[in-house]
């Protein structure tokens, strides 16, 4: 096989503050998702399914969990002569010795790595989103148009457009895409509802030049700095590629919860099997879990449960990762339970996201008895042992590893326990 021409670079280092305690010890891309995998698996599976197998991952915030997850890259077939995932952490150089100051700076600091691969296209992705996309289709469009930069856009509700980079495209190719006429990063009064998905395909020289120019500024973001700069250049051809599938951006805990709920139902918006989703089953020894055991009194409705769970109680509208035990009389509803949680007898969890390795002693109550669309999500950070009978109100936040003596009997709605 000839050497592949595309190099993909995944921006996986960001910590999104809104995801709060879930990103306390891991970058957002390493946050568990889908009852078995991590958020970044979607980008990696998309790359695999698009036939792009030269991949670099830029990471600096708490990289350990991510590095562990990527392993050798074999889970996504990215191991072989021209197939690899390289993790590029910040490094010391003879001249530069710095942390990444932003995503664009991160790529700039690794330009020697990029040059080494002599790519014909450079695909820059965020590792933080949940979607299924054939990048090859975007690259084909990019090449057809002989574009300098092609950006994937998707439609979002107009009132949310302020949160994204949005573009005005001309009608050059109708539903497929068009030339980007204007671009605004997080505009206060948006004039378009086409939001950037942070999937960028660059002509290499254009990227090199743009990064070089960007070094003179004091902000190093693609959306805020690089894209507006290139759109403004008269001779630069920036195209928009229109994407119409599901896009889960999960910037807030409520959005994260909603994306998880999109896995459920008879016709789920996110269908892992159809999306040809892959994760690293070696990570956390997922593969060693026996099938889930459902007890005499187990009730499981409209839920997703991976191997390694033991269900003695009731689970409704929830997603359970491997190793979760729901004991007798416990009721788990509308919740996302990460790896290895133990939910004690007669506990009741409603609209909760609980991070890995938490245990809930008997009779713990979290969230309201009935929840509505507007009920805020309660989040419990990892490695907590919630004492017997504790009551936690809706929308509360529990930080990781709260010492035993700090637990109150009641944590009110919306309160934080640090």
């Amino acid at each position: 096989m000839l050497k592949p021409s595309t190099l993909a670079m995944i921006l996986a280092g960001s910590r999104v503050d809104e995801l709060n305690v879930l990103t306390y010890y891991r970058p957002k891309s390493a946050v568990p998702f889908g009852g078995v995998g991590r958020v970044i698996d979607f980008s990696l599976s998309n790359l695999l399914n698009s036939g792009i197998e030269q991949v670099a991952l830029l990471s600096q915030y708490h990289s350990y969990s991510l590095i562990n997850h990527i392993g050798t890259g074999a889970a996504w077939d990215m191991i072989g002569r021209y197939r690899h995932v390289s993790i590029l952490p910040p490094h010391l150089g003879s001249e530069v010795a710095d942390w990444y100051r932003g995503p664009a700076d991160a790529i700039y600091k690794n330009l020697d790595y990029v040059h080494y691969h002599c790519p014909e296209e450079i695909l820059i992705l965020s590792g933080d989103h949940i979607y299924k996309m054939d990048y090859q289709d975007l690259i084909d469009y990019h090449n057809e148009k002989d574009a300098d930069l092609t950006i994937a856009f998707t439609r979002v509700p107009m009132d949310e457009a302020t949160r994204f980079g949005v573009a005005l495209m001309d009608d050059e190719d109708g539903a497929r895409g068009g030339r980007v006429v204007k671009y605004w990063e997080k505009p206060q009064s948006p004039e378009s509802d086409w939001a950037s998905m942070t999937v960028l395909c660059f002509k290499p020289e254009v990227l090199y030049r743009a990064l070089e120019q960007n070094q003179e500024s004091d902000s190093y973001h693609f959306g805020r700095d690089i894209i507006p700069m290139l759109v403004a250049q008269q001779n630069c051809k920036v195209y928009g590629y229109k994407f119409c599938g599901y896009w889960g951006y999960t910037r807030t805990i409520n959005e994260y919860w909603q994306s998880n709920m999109d896995l459920l139902g008879p016709k789920p918006l996110i269908d892992l099997e159809k999306w040809v989703f892959r994760t690293n089953l070696e990570h956390r020894h997922i593969r060693d879990n026996e099938p889930s055991l459902m007890g005499e009194d187990a009730v499981v409705h409209n839920s997703m449960i991976y191997n390694g769970c033991k269900i003695g109680g009731t689970v409704r509208n929830s997603v359970l990762f491997p190793g979760v035990h729901v004991k007798k009389g416990a009721i788990v509803e509308n919740s996302v339970i990460f790896f290895s949680n133990i939910i004690g007898e007669n506990c009741r969890l409603n609209k909760v996201v609980t991070d890995v390795n938490n245990s809930f002693a008997r009779n713990v109550m979290i969230g309201p008895e009935y929840c509505t669309d507007r009920t805020p999500v309660t989040v419990v950070g990892w490695n907590n042992k919630v004492p017997e009978g504790v009551i936690i109100g809706e929308g509360a936040t529990v930080y990781p590893q709260i010492p035993k003596e700090r637990w109150p009997a009641i944590l009110g709605a919306g309160e934080e326990l640090r």
Binding site: G34, E290, P291, S292, H301
Partner: protein
Amino acid sequence: MKRAKEALVLILAGGVGSRLNILVQKRAKPAVPFGGIYRIIDFSLSNVMNSGLKKVGVLTQYKPLSLMNHLGMGDAWDFTGRSRGVTILPPRTGEKESDWYQGTADAVRRNIDFLEANPAGEVVILSGDHIYHMEFDGMIEYHRSKKADVTVGMMVVPKSEIHQFGAGIVDKNDRIIEWEEKPKEPRTNLASMGIYVFDYQYLLNTLIRDRAEIDFGMHILSRAIAEDNVFAYPFYGYWRDVGTIQAYWEANMDVLKKESGISPQKWQIRTNIESKKRLADRAPARFGAACQLKNCMISAGSNIQGSVINSVLAPGVVVEEGAIVKDSILFEDCVVKKGAVVDLAILDKRVHVGEKAIVGFGENYKVVNQLKPSHLYTGITLIGKGAAVPPEQKIGRNCVINTNIIEAAYPGRAIGDGESLFADGEVT
């Protein structure tokens, strides 16, 4: 000091296991799926891995393809590395004689070059078709402390069952002084588990001695007991030979019972999860809004809309609305359509049960299978790999529907108790 890790392991995985009927039509007994995601040989391999042993030879003979696929490079059981490895030892053409393995000892004898190429202190010889958890390092230590030539893993079984086993009578030091292979009259309740630790040199000498000694239990052991030092290593815990449909079904059901003592997860049993036919990983199992579960095991990739009771489901099984699966074992990617019933049955991979069909119909559990009365006699019905059951079809008790049977092959709406259906539409 020698360490247990330096022992060499041989796993005998060549047996036909014909009493498992159509489950072994296309695969060797050790490769038969078990407990949802495992295969029978995973238990022996994982025990070897968990005992820290590093070098394994697997002797295959009968339909080894699925077994060899499953073993792969051995990395699932950590057998990769410069001083680690799993080697598949199939029968080879010899100089003169007919070259199939004639028995357990004969199989090892024909691989004496493998033994010579891997010098070790001891050779652990195991069977690849038992469900159990055992630490061989303990057994090897015991073997050394007794200065034994051979140590035999033995467990207490009810006297009524001893006729299926090699039985040993021991003195007060656990030295075996008498041996009976499958005795009709029980004189002891100590049964051989088919697990042996041999002194390396002793094994070589024994194998060279007499080519007529083709079986460990029948020939090698009885002579060793008479002439040399053979000790019994007592084993307490769960151990099953799942060589019959009944035993196989019961052991699967044991996985559902906490008190049975079998727990693949606690035992740290590993399997090879790679399957070349699948691109995506299995998603978590999906449970519908009206599904009912009771005492069952469900694997990833399944989709449960109906009822599952006392059953073990492998990955990718679909149970549609209103369908009922009870007291059954379903292998990968079986589909039970709307309103169908599967009761006391074993369904091999990719069986398709049509709408409102009934597999396991009626109450005539005692009408034995006419072709193989010794295989199916308690009511269990077997459906072969890839077979289809037409909508509204009734299949009775103790039936066998052969591999890949298509809907058109069925002669009528009902297959009677004890009958077997073949691809040409013949019912026996």
